[in-house]
Symmetry: D3
Subunit: 140 residues, 6 copies
């Protein structure tokens, strides 16, 4: 058994704000500070998607990264890139758009598509800025 | 005469869209593509501000970069960071929010404040993404 | 249970040397090479601080990163930044200033302050240069 | 017990192609796409080598990184750098030159030399491009 | 007149060797060192393409970067990416494949296509590694 | 005439402080802030050295970058790396150790050695941190 972890990086640019509809504007401002700007702000997000598996003898691949790239494009980049996370993205409807909640939602979009290829999603990393990022391993 | 060029980097996160109000939605979509998303998108912008001058003998400084940092914060970061470039930023009112137009507007904000300190703004660089950026030298 | 790992990056610039007072200069030179330069050398250190936790439903946050930023500033940046690790930093007194020993000492400074907020420090990464870095998980 | 993980980064530039000799050219093209270009292509590889151990009290080191640097140079950089992975590298003879297979082969070159110093290899990361990389922990 | 300089980054991975056919192997080895490895080596090249112009009032663009991206793809990436610079690339036939010669050849490919759009190519930067790169301004 | 600009990157780690001996400690603290820490601080400096010239037909080189690398090592890295800029570096004796003054001093070290090879030094860039850097073109 020789598991290798293979990662593909993707990028998308999106607008969002941190806002809890159960709170008034003052409370949102107090908790989220400038991230609660009513007219939105935005980020260049960077996503790292890691697959765990053994390399196939005939290809040397854990997974063909072109297939992984296509899954990421269809399931994440197309619905998110150059969009508003709070308003435009079906899988974020009714959710907070913090990096933490977004990375869980992206996992739930990617995991079934990767499993359907017989592969195993192991890890996501999502950079919101060069100073802030989140990691997710499916909840463990 | 020994001119040195000194640069300070700053960062801000903002939402925007590329949209010409004289055109209908279809035309905006055709020209600007996904950058015309009606609900905005956003970026982590990175700004490089370059001063030209001779180092003062008693300090070795062309300009005290703490002063430059403060000017950038007051004139650029405070009005832009975590804001919507189209809606929230006084010096972008009525302007396209392309990187080209934004970098000219930032120059016009910074140049008088830097000149008032007896220093000379030489160059700005503004990254919109890791793949796209603009440079400006005051129009030359 | 859906744990997410959230990271905040910080930076500080410090002088140090690797020197064992029980050894003579020749022995220090032999073991530590140019890192034992008597008049010090220095680095731009980069620190990544990772919190483990479940996002709170009302905020989407594992931990408010502004609070984490403030803890890092008070406990690490203020005592270390623009200082001499061997001479100026109380929590490094009498210790070797290798990246390994420094990362353990930083953990011991940060961990109680993060725990006091009800959060859990999971991981530190400390870059000494672009080619050398250390990771620490509390000793495991 | 206070384990720290210490990493040294190395780089090498090499040519390769992905090609399975049991298949004809059309099949190789179909599976590997442009990576199967008959006349090769190449990469700037970046390798991160991580040692796990407790810092020695007299040095503060898990391992002297100069020794680790020398091992990486002798066992990896000298045989691989500015070479053709398929044709020139003894430890890749008869193997696919995917990132996955290469990282396992590099582990098998480094691990005995690091163990011989009484140290423990914990992790390798190998970047093929800024968008694609592999991690390996000895097969676990 | 307010000229702005706008840059698009592209990347390609290629094999090459430095080899002068007028010299024997020993002379090539002496002059080019490991860059003369007979079986090739390779790089992840990074290309920055800079356009000079005034932003158009109706778009805020000096040039639509999607058009520039398409020109770079057709004229540079398609013929070079995942290819052998010495053997596979029509516009490098009979030329040395140093970074200096390559950047001039790329200019000559890009310049007419950019001019045909009514735009002006100002500057190219070509990274061969993180430590080595070339700049070209059309020969000035 | 087809001038190309070729750059080699180098790095060095050094301690320094900003301190004017004609001033008392309070004045130094006021002007230089935390950069005046009496026990020094330090940086990972990054230096870019750019040569201007026409590629030689037989090599495709403006200058053999191995020769340039050796000059940088002998004239800059050996005297500066892992040293104290204020105390240990002959060519900084009696000078302020600001990035501005340092980049001029490095130019004066490199320029004669590069000229002696028949080549032309065009530009230096010196990063003190990721946020601060200086450029120098020989005083123009």
């Amino acid at each position: 058994m020789k598991n290798v972890y293979v990662t593909r990086r993707a990028r998308f640019n999106a607008a969002h704000k941190l806002w809890n509809d159960d709170w008034d504007a003052a409370m949102n401002q107090e908790v989220f500070g400038k991230c609660a700007n009513p007219n939105w702000h935005g980020h260049n997000y960077e996503l790292h998607v890691t697959i765990k598996g053994e390399p196939a003898p005939e290809t040397g691949y854990c997974m063909n990264l072109v297939e992984l790239k296509d899954i990421i494009k269809e399931r994440v980049e197309d619905p998110i890139d150059h969009k508003n996370l709070n308003l435009d993205v079906p899988f974020m409807k009714g959710k907070m758009t913090s990096t933490e909640v977004l990375i869980i939602a992206i996992w739930e979009e990617l995991e079934p598509a990767i499993s359907a290829k017989g592969c195993r999603l192991h890890h996501l990393r999502l950079y919101e800025t060069e100073n802030n990022y989140a990691d997710y391993y499916g909840g463990a």
